[in-house]
Every structure is written in structure tokens, then in C-alpha cells.
């Protein structure tokens, strides 16, 4: 077992180190950009070690403080409960998110080794402690009993130590269980993508829910004035918080609801141990240990199933024999149009592309409802704002931001498809124009529904300003599409379109420079519109200025396209290598 643990630790270490090794087939720029990508994790790793030490110290301090007579236990326990709830959420969600990002358990190689399946499971469960959140809880929960022992509460320390073992075993079991389930789920591409979409939509929904619910909450309560707040605070102060708890503060050893919630079982166990009731602490300890055993029993069963079931591939759709519809982009050559259509299809078939398309109108709708129902709380005093127009502009802005992932890595995101494009009779200009047209279409497909929602939720405002919005979008994409081509050629990054978050993002440097590019494209529009509206007080002039700026942006775009074309010709080799994942 120790040998296996050592080998696994060595494997993880070597994999980390080998990330930094340069390969011969990269140019200096490529090596530099790759190095930049690994600096982030190294910095996080360096911060992580002092974090663990600090967590241990805090845990020890809490263990020493809790058994002291006259101490304030409730705030300490409230912090403990919050941390444990977060740990539980992370143990469940992190493996799912990791799987959605493309990092599932790859056990094929391990299965070929002469290692028993149980040992593989044990190494997996132990590996869970390498997660920062569990590592932090490990040091703090193990040093908490040490603190208690130092405070003289030896029996309580022993019970708290058992409880720490129980909660850690439970969380590692839960993490392994979630990890195996996620791996089983995400083995199949289509199923995995549906799960990712559901997960991301749920997370987005959870983020919007409070806002949405707030819009239907009746606004009847009068805000209390400052005087009454002070009065209440003065009354509450001696009652709560200021009064140190007397012995017996830990209360009931095991309420029924706590049986269903292991973090509460641990918190009760610690509280009773610190309250010098180690006998009573055994009551929550036993179900906690049962939870830990249960998590590992189910986790190991699922892990075994993962090992024993073969890899599956998505069931294939039967060919209908129908002609594939392949629209033509007006004004583009056949080749450039084919590039644009394939790019649009690729993006719409990714989880991220679908989410961005679906979520943006919902965001605008929620904001519109909030604004609509609570105007005094959300708008500053003064003249009424054209809410619909502002929301529509925000929709364009957000659509542009969601498009950055595609625009700023437009070549390497095609992966092997880029090789096909390079092998096909497509000139550099056609390739760039096709990608730019796809960018414009994608922006329109995301911004238009958002603008429509904005117009429906909050109609009104100057017709000139509404007319200027499409020009705003055009001017933004005119600058960003060729700039994106330049940055994509300079800083390509192999991505997996089926995954989310990190695995699907452009190179960090491209992202930062792209953000500045976006700002550069936006600032003149904001300045011109503000000038026309506030200084010249004319919406028609605002439209005129925006149209003029769009012409300038198109001129800038031509120069940038030429630069992108020259750069693409020089960077073809590197792009082909990166797209192949090398």
C-alpha cells in the first residue's frame, strides 16, 4: 500500500514537473506563452502550503479556546458549521465541475498494473486529501483536538479526534463517490455534455434565483430609521454575543434532523467534547462514523463499477441521407463562407456556446424585471433612464464578452479541423474573413435576442438610439474580429470544445490583451454617445456619431485584417502544432 502511495505521489509530481519541460518543436514565443500558463498553478501551490499551516494553527487555537470557561462558543461553532457546509458542497460539486472541464479519472493505465482494485480505491480516497479544501480541513480538524488536550480536556480531545477522523473519512468518501459517478457519467461524450449543460444551467439559475424571487417579494416593509436601529442594537447587545456561555451550553446532543447532515454531527461532537460531555459526544459520533463507512462502501462499489465497465461511445445517429444544408454567407467566397459556417456550427455545438446563447436573454430579462419592479432602489435619482436601451446595450456588451473565448482562440479551437483548413485550398485572407464573418454572426445571434428581451421588458427611448445599437455591435466586432485573429495567431491554445471553464478558454495573455482591445473599441462609442446626449442633447446626433465611428472602425478593421493575414502566414506551423495538441 505504501509502495503504491509513493508511486502515485511520484507520478503526480513528475506530471507537474514535465509540464515545465520545453519541447524541441516550439518557437520562443510558444515556449514563453506555455511557461506563462504554468506560472499560475505554481503560484497557487506556493500560496497553498502556508494556507494549510495557518489552518492547522487556527484549528489548534480553536481547540484550546473552546473548553475555556466563559468563552464565546457560538461564533466559533458558527464558523465551523459554515466551513463544513462549504466542504460538503465542494466535495460534491468539485468532481462534477472537474469532469465537466475534462478531468475525469483515467484508470486504463493503472488497471494494467499489478495492483489490487481495493488498493486503487484506497489511493484514490487518499488522493482526495490533496485537494486544497480537504487538506485545509485535515490540518485544522486534526489540530483542534491537540488544542483541546493542551487546554486540559483530554477525554474531549480523544472524542474530537475520532470525530475529525469521521468527518474526514466521510468527506474523502463523498469526494471519491462523486468523482467515480462523474467519471461514469462523463465517459459518454453526449451524456457528459448534457450533464455539463444541466450543471451550468443550474448554477446560473441558482445565481439568478434570489434576484428573480426578490422581484416578486411585496415591498411593504418600511426601512427602519437609524434611531430605531441603534435602539434595537442597544437592547440586543447584552442578550446575545456579549454573554459568555455557561457549562452545558452545547445543548441537546442529537436532534433528529442532524442525523441526516454529517457536518452537523461533527459540529455537535466538537461542541459536546468542548463542553466536557465526552459521553454525550459519542451519540453524534456513531452516526457520523456510519456515514463515513456508508460513503466509502458506495464509493468503492462505484469505483469498482467504473473499472469493470468498458468505455462507451455515444450512440450514433442514423444517417438520413438528406442533403446537408450549408448556407452561404453573402459577400464571401465559397471557401471563406465554408469556414464561417463550420465555425458557427462548431460554436453552437459546444456546451459553452449553447449556454451563452441561452443564458444571455435570461440575464437581461432578470435585470429588466428587477429594474422594472424596484426602480427607486436600482436607479439613481434624477431624470428617468431609458432602461430598455441600457439593457440592450448591456446585452451587446455581454454578448461581445461571451464571444471572446471564440474570437481570441479562433484557429487552435478547431483542433484537427485547422489542419483540414490548412490542407484545403483556402487562402489566409479567406480563412481570416470566414472567421470574422462567423464572429459577427455569433455576436448577432447572442445580442439580438438580448436586445429583443430588453425592448419587450422596458420599451421606450429614442428611436435614434435604438437604431444606433446595431452599429455599436458592428463597430465592436469590426475591431475585435481581426484583433482576435492576431491574438489567436500569436497565442494559440489547444482547447477541448466539449469542456467548460479552463479547458475551453483562450490563452491568458490573449484574454488580457483582448479585454483591453474590447475597452479600446468601446470607449470611443461611449464618449461619442455621451457627448451627443449630454452636451448636444440630440439622440439623432448620437446615431450619426455612432455611424461615423463604425466607418472608422471598419477602416481600422481593414488594417488589422492585413496584419492578421501576414501574421497567420508566419504562424501556420505553430498553429498546426498547437491545434494538434503538441
Amino acid at each position: 500500500m505504501m509502495r503504491l502511495a509513493t508511486v502515485m505521489a511520484w507520478l503526480r509530481w513528475r506530471l507537474l514537473l514535465n509540464l515545465l519541460r520545453p519541447t524541441k518543436r516550439r518557437d520562443a514565443l510558444e515556449r514563453a506563452s506555455r511557461a506563462l500558463q504554468v506560472i499560475g498553478p505554481i503560484v497557487v501551490f506556493l500560496i497553498f502550503i502556508p494556507g494549510i499551516i495557518l489552518a492547522g494553527f487556527v484549528g489548534g487555537l480553536a481547540g484550546w479556546y473552546l473548553p475555556q470557561t466563559g468563552s464565546f462558543h457560538r461564533p466559533v461553532l458558527a464558523i465551523l458549521r459554515t466551513i463544513l457546509s462549504m466542504e460538503l458542497l465542494l466535495a460534491l460539486l468539485a468532481p462534477l465541475l472537474r469532469a465537466a472541464q475534462g478531468s475525469t479519472l483515467n484508470l486504463t493505465r493503472l488497471l494494467l498494473l499489478p495492483v489490487p482494485v481495493r488498493a486503487l480505491y484506497a489511493s484514490e480516497a487518499l488522493g482526495a486529501f490533496a485537494n486544497p479544501w480537504l487538506a485545509i480541513l485535515t490540518t485544522s480538524s486534526l489540530l483542534l483536538p491537540v488544542g483541546m488536550a493542551v487546554a486540559g480536556e483530554l477525554r474531549g480531545a480523544a472524542t474530537a479526534l475520532l470525530a475529525a477522523a469521521g468527518i474526514l473519512a466521510f468527506l474523502s468518501g463523498l469526494e471519491t463517490l462523486a468523482s467515480s459517478s462523474a467519471s461514469l457519467l462523463f465517459r459518454d461524450r453526449r451524456r457528459g455534455e448534457i450533464a455539463t449543460f444541466a450543471l451550468m444551467a443550474s448554477l446560473a439559475g441558482a445565481a439568478f434565483l434570489p434576484g428573480l424571487l426578490a422581484t416578486f417579494e411585496p415591498v411593504k416593509r418600511r426601512l427602519p430609521d437609524a434611531g430605531s436601529i441603534e435602539e434595537k442594537a442597544a437592547q440586543a447587545a447584552p442578550e446575545k454575543g456579549r454573554q459568555p456561555e455557561a457549562p452545558g451550553w452545547s445543548g441537546k446532543p442529537l436532534p433528529l434532523w442532524a442525523l441526516a447532515y454529517p457536518p452537523e454531527l461533527y459540529a455537535r461532537c466538537v461542541a459536546l467534547s468542548a463542553d466536557r460531555r465526552p459521553g454525550a459526544a459519542l451519540l453524534p459520533l456513531l452516526p457520523l462514523l456510519l456515514w463515513a463507512c456508508g460513503a466509502h462502501a458506495i464509493g468503492s462499489r462505484l469505483h469498482r463499477r467504473l473499472l469493470e465497465t468498458p468505455e462507451v461511445s455515444s450512440p450514433r445517429r442514423r444517417g438520413s441521407g438528406a442533403v446537408v444544408s450549408w448556407p452561404q454567407f453573402a459577400g464571401l467566397s465559397d471557401a471563406a463562407s465554408a469556414v464561417a459556417v463550420s465555425q458557427v456550427r462548431l460554436v453552437f455545438r459546444t456546451v459553452q456556446g449553447k449556454i451563452q446563447f441561452c443564458v444571455l436573454p435570461v440575464v437581461i430579462l432578470v435585470l429588466g424585471l428587477l429594474w422594472h419592479r424596484h426602480p427607486p432602489q436600482l436607479t439613481p435619482s434624477g431624470p428617468p433612464l431609458p432602461v430598455g436601451l441600457l439593457l440592450a446595450a448591456l446585452g451587446i456588451l455581454l454578448a461581445m464578452m461571451t464571444l471572446e473565448g471564440t474570437l481570441l482562440n479562433q484557429f487552435a479551437m478547431d483542433r484537427a479541423g485547422l489542419t483540414l483548413e490548412f490542407l484545403s485550398p483556402i487562402s489566409d485572407r479567406e480563412l481570416i474573413l470566414g472567421k470574422a464573418a462567423a464572429g459577427a454572426f455569433l455576436l448577432a445571434s447572442r445580442a439580438l435576442p438580448a436586445m429583443l428581451v430588453a425592448a419587450l421588458v422596458a420599451p421606450g427611448g429614442s428611436i435614434f438610439l435604438w437604431l444606433s445599437l446595431p452599429f455599436v455591435a458592428l463597430s465592436l466586432v469590426a475591431v475585435m474580429a481581426p484583433l482576435g485573429a492576431i491574438l489567436s495567431a500569436l497565442f494559440p491554445r489547444a482547447v477541448d470544445l466539449g469542456k467548460i471553464v479552463k479547458q475551453n478558454q483562450p490563452h491568458p495573455l490573449a484574454a488580457i490583451l483582448g479585454m483591453f482591445g474590447n475597452l479600446f473599441a468601446m470607449v470611443p462609442i461611449l464618449g461619442l454617445v455621451a457627448g451627443a446626449l449630454f452636451l448636444l442633447q440630440s439622440a439623432a446626433l448620437a446615431l450619426l456619431f455612432v455611424v461615423l465611428w463604425t466607418s472608422v472602425a471598419l477602416l481600422i478593421s481593414v488594417s488589422l485584417l492585413r496584419l492578421a493575414e501576414r501574421l497567420l502566414a508566419r504562424r501556420r506551423e505553430n498553429l498546426a502544432l498547437v491545434a494538434q495538441g503538441r
Partner: protein
Amino acid sequence: MGELSAVAEVAIETQGLRRTFGELVAVDGVDLAVPRGTLYGFLGPNGAGKSTTIKCLTGLLRPSGGRMRILGIDPEKDPVAVKRRVGVVPEDLALFDRLTGAETLTFVGKVHGLDRTTLQSRSKELLELMDLAAASDSLVADYSHGMRKKMALAAALLPGPHLLFLDEPFEGIDAVASRQIKDLLHAFVGRGGTVFLTSHILEIVERICSHVGVIAKGRLVAQGSLQGLRAASHGGKTLEEIFLDLVGAGEDRAPQMEWLSG
């Protein structure tokens, strides 16, 4: 296909083709001469420079030195003209994961400017030939390796190229598909097309290729018709024996490793 016969009798011609990666010389002064209408097998041990050569010839890598002519055209001067006449199945198969099989062919057809009727009939024919018609509406991401290889070959054939570059076309292909591909290549060559393929399976190369080139450590050590190579090796030798002699492995004895007791 006949239009080029007068232009170039040699489909691929290189002079001193060289490609370096830093200090590593992957291809070192290769002089290829691939006659039109032949099935040319390009052989070499792992890391000999086969893939690098094919990438230079197909425009995926820029040569560090030397000259090339593909179907009489200089690919560095007019890469698009060369690509219009050439079909390639590269190492990574060059397919969009998120397009269906039918869409992949449509993309290739559109890029080559095929009209709708031609595209439709050729796609149908190729999908049926490759036994991919039933999976034509599935994303390429869901294809098996063999299916992907057949799809890449279909995509390379769709525009009706004069010259085919195939990097390990028989790797990961079942016996039935392998037979189909061999028949297809013979038919293609029979109609005046040229095939330049790399393969590790010497038996297949011996059976289907008329001409062979052998590369070792970046240098072309032999080139010519298979018959000519046999004659030069003083007769009776198989391609495997000739190959091993050429790459300098013929004298190597089998490793002992007594500990492999079985």
C-alpha cells in the same frame, strides 16, 4: 486529370529538401522523384523523417531549405493551386470533431467549389463506399478510429485530386476496409492518379506499391521501382530484407534478454 500529364511527368519532385527543428535535422537533403500514375511507398523507421517530409510536401511545414514541385507547381509560390489538386490524409486525420460526416464532406466540397449536384452525388458514393452512410449524421467526435480514418480518406478523395498523400492509411483499419482502400487506390492510380503513402506495414507496401523510397535519419537512402530495388539487392530479397539492409538494421542480432523466460 489528363490536363497535367503534359505539364509534369513527375508528380512530386524535391531537390535538397531540408527541414530542421533547432539543432535537430529531421529531413536532410532529400531528392524525391515520384512518377505520375504510380503508387509510391515512402518507408523509414520511426523518427526517420517520413511525417516531416509529408508535412513539408503538403504545406503544413515550411522547408528550411531545398526546392519542391508538386504536379509541376511550386507549393511555396502558389500553395492554393497545389491544394486544389491534392488530397491529404495526415497523421492527425484533420477532421472537425463537431461536424457530422456528411457536413465534413460538404465543407470540403464547398471549399473546393464543387457544385451542389456533384457534391451530393460524390458524397453519397464515398459514404457508401466507406460504409459510413449509416453514420453520416453523427458527429465525427463519436466515430471510432477506423471510421475517422475512412472519413479522412473520403474527404481527401471528394474533390477528385490528382495526387494523394496518405500518412499511414492502413493503421487501425480492419481487413475489410483495408481491402476496400487498396482496391480504391489501385483504381485511382489506374486512372492516372498518383499516391504517395507512408506505412510501417511492409507486406502491404510490397503488395500494392510500384515504387518505393526509403528514408533513414532524414536522408533518402534508396528510391526507385520495387523491381529495380530487388534487382539492385542481387535478387530474391523481400522488401523487409531490403528495407532492413538499407536502414542498417539487417546485421542486428535479436536481443538476448535471458530474463524473459516466459
